[in-house]
């Protein structure tokens, strides 16, 4: 049991982070806190991708010269660079999503004078 938890600890962290973010998105009434939750939720996926790229004792995927001592191109194991590249794209997407969400939060605040979900819903009801 301990081995399962300790051996794959970064996956456990990713799941915990994801659930923390998810909880914030569902339970928090403040629109900015929801965006914070959204960010944690996305960051968890970055961790997931990075974790799956790593191999034990591996090094950066650069062609090694003889100057690196014990490590030679034949003996070295490399980290998989592709998930890193994919996640760079996903980080850019995450930044854009955050930017749009914050812009919307500003517009909501200007229109309603509050960022509280329940108060906004009540204002909408009164308007109808």
């Amino acid at each position: 049991m301990i081995e399962i938890i300790a051996g794959k600890y970064n996956y456990w962290i990713y799941i915990s982070l994801m659930m923390i973010g998810f909880y914030a998105m569902i339970a928090k009434g403040n629109l900015i806190k929801k965006i914070v939750g959204l960010n944690i939720f996305q960051t968890a996926v970055f961790l997931f991708y990075i974790s799956m790229a790593v191999r034990e004792g591996s090094t950066a995927p650069i062609l090694l010269s003889r100057a690196h001592g014990a490590l030679t191109p034949e003996t070295a194991t490399y980290t998989n660079p592709l998930p890193h590249v994919l996640i760079l794209t996903a980080i850019v997407v995450g930044v854009s999503v955050t930017a749009v969400a914050l812009a919307l939060a500003i517009k909501i605040y200007r229109a309603y004078g509050t960022l509280d979900e329940y108060r906004i819903a009540k204002l909408e009801q009164d308007a109808e």
């Binding site: 998810f22 939720f41 996926v45 994919l86 919307l104 909501i108 909408e124």
Partner: protein
């Protein structure tokens, strides 16, 4: 030149968006013109691609000359060619409509924003359809989603901003689930190319990682196309957005996300896995009848026209998903035809709602007294759309429902036929209310009748073209049926 058509489909709206922005800074009307020409051009290119696919078979385009599975591959086959034509046609029609509509309903100061975002949305949608690389699907999905969120909020209504925010939160959860699904598949196969995944996955079908990935895809895309219990964001987003935006969201965005799920189900995974190894069809059989009936009843309870249309979309999506779950060629053909018909019908109906709101500023159908007299052409076209939504013979709506019903019989599940019939009946009731208020009530103020007739032709012509197509495809059903049947046969692996 035609060698590069697959990539041009995506590049035309992308560079169109850039050009729209700079040209629009000098003269506002150019923004509309460039958008219209860009969407028209990508429609022509898609049509040419569909023709050449039907003549010569699958087209594979290697981006930058890198061979798949290492490079990104764009694939045009019967399925993506068909959907490309549908999406680019609808986006062209809505672009024509948007010119005068946006100027009045959204305001000249946001006209430029609208058209740039609109072209970016089309870029994302067409990219999702044509790409053969699963991570590329995610990238295009986010391009389409982000411009979609912004488009919802572009209007004047303050409620639209909150709707856009909720859409953003749930849409991002959906996109992150898709990303997780991709990650799980990559983890066990080490490839991102769909065709390559299809070859490598069958050995791993027992693996829990692959099952998890599949569930992530269904829920992720399900959130995006408003699969029944995940539909809550759709109601406010589609009903509060400006009508031209509601039209593109209902007609194209839902379809493309549904397309992406079907790609994953049939191209990345195999029909054998989807129909036998996972209980996904059992789940669909339970939720789609509920979606179809509940949404029809809820649509009946609405008086706000756009909210009514939004509820009806959920039921129509239910029809398409039902056809997928029935797992035979006839039902799947029905689904694909319904994707085309629903795009035409719901796109056109939202545009019509836009026309009426444009002229009268009345959102509630109980205020539409005597519109049959003051706006006779608009109400006539509305009646045609209503008949097609109900599924009256000689309209396109009948053809796709007929295929779905026959497909249900072929699958030995006759009990879905009453569901289709009852839902058609309820649809008839909720469209009849509009006909009744429009034709059988006298207008409040007969004096204002005259100036209502002057809807700009740029707004009416696309709606009339789509209404004509609904009647034309109702009679000449073989025209869309040919490519749809080929696509269905290809997906189920019978060809």
């Amino acid at each position: 030149m035609s060698l590069h058509f697959p990539v041009l489909v995506v590049l035309i709206p992308l560079f169109g968006a850039l050009l729209t922005f700079f040209a629009g800074l000098f003269r506002r009307t150019w923004a509309w013109h460039i958008t219209t020409y860009a969407t028209l051009l990508s429609f022509v290119v898609s049509l040419d691609l569909l023709m050449s696919v039907r003549a010569t078979g699958r087209i594979s385009y290697w981006l930058g000359g890198w061979a798949p599975p290492w490079g990104i591959e764009y694939v045009v086959d019967y399925f993506s060619g068909y959907i490309l034509v549908v999406i680019s046609f609808i986006s062209f029609m809505i672009a024509v409509f948007a010119g005068p509509y946006v100027k009045k309903q959204i305001g000249p100061e946001r006209e430029l924003n609208f058209f740039v975002l609109y072209l970016l949305l089309i870029t994302g949608l067409l990219g999702m359809v044509i790409t053969g690389d699963i991570f590329n699907v995610y990238v295009f999905l986010e391009i389409a989603s982000l411009s979609g969120y912004a488009l919802v909020a572009v209007g004047k209504k303050r409620g639209a901003v909150v709707a856009s925010y909720n859409y953003l939160i749930l849409g991002t959860v959906g996109a992150v689930f898709v990303l997780l699904g991709i990650g799980h598949l990559y983890m066990v196969t080490g490839t991102l190319n769909m065709a390559d995944l299809r070859e490598r996955l069958p050995d791993l079908y027992h693996s829990r990682v692959v099952l998890t990935a599949f569930v992530f895809f269904v829920i992720g895309f399900g959130l995006k196309f408003a699969l029944f219990p995940l539909h809550t964001w759709l109601l406010s987003a589609h009903s509060l957005a400006p009508s031209a935006v509601s039209a593109i969201l209902a007609a194209a965005v839902l379809k493309v996300n549904l397309y992406a799920l079907m790609r994953v189900m049939f191209t990345v995974f195999t029909p054998a896995f989807v129909y036998e190894a996972v209980p996904i069809t059992e789940i669909f059989f339970v939720i789609t009848p509920i979606a179809i009936l509940v949404s029809s009843v809820m649509a009946l309870a609405q008086t706000n026209i756009k909210r009514m249309l939004a509820y009806s979309s959920i039921g129509q999506i239910g029809f398409i998903v039902l056809g997928i779950a029935l797992a035979n060629e006839t039902a799947l053909t029905g689904s694909l035809l319904h994707m085309l018909n629903h795009a035409l019908m719901k796109g056109g109906l939202f545009l019509l709602a836009g026309v009426i709101i444009y002229q009268t500023d009345r959102y509630h159908i109980t205020d539409w007294k005597g519109l049959g007299k003051t706006m006779p052409l608009t109400m006539l076209v509305f009646t045609i759309y209503g008949l097609s939504m109900v599924g009256v013979p000689l309209t396109a709506g009948f053809v796709s429902k007929w295929y779905l019903a026959i497909g249900a019989l072929e699958a030995g599940r006759w009990y879905f036929i009453p569901v289709i019939l009852v839902s058609s009946l309820l649809t008839a009731v909720y469209f009849w209310r509009i006909i009744e208020w429009g034709y059988f009530h006298e207008p409040d103020d007969p004096e204002d009748a005259k100036d209502r007739c002057h809807v700009p032709w740029a707004m009416m012509i696309p709606i009339m073209v789509m209404a004509f197509l609904l009647l034309f495809f109702g009679v000449a059903a073989f025209i869309p049926e040919g490519p749809a049947r080929q696509a269905a046969a290809m997906l189920l692996g019978m060809q």
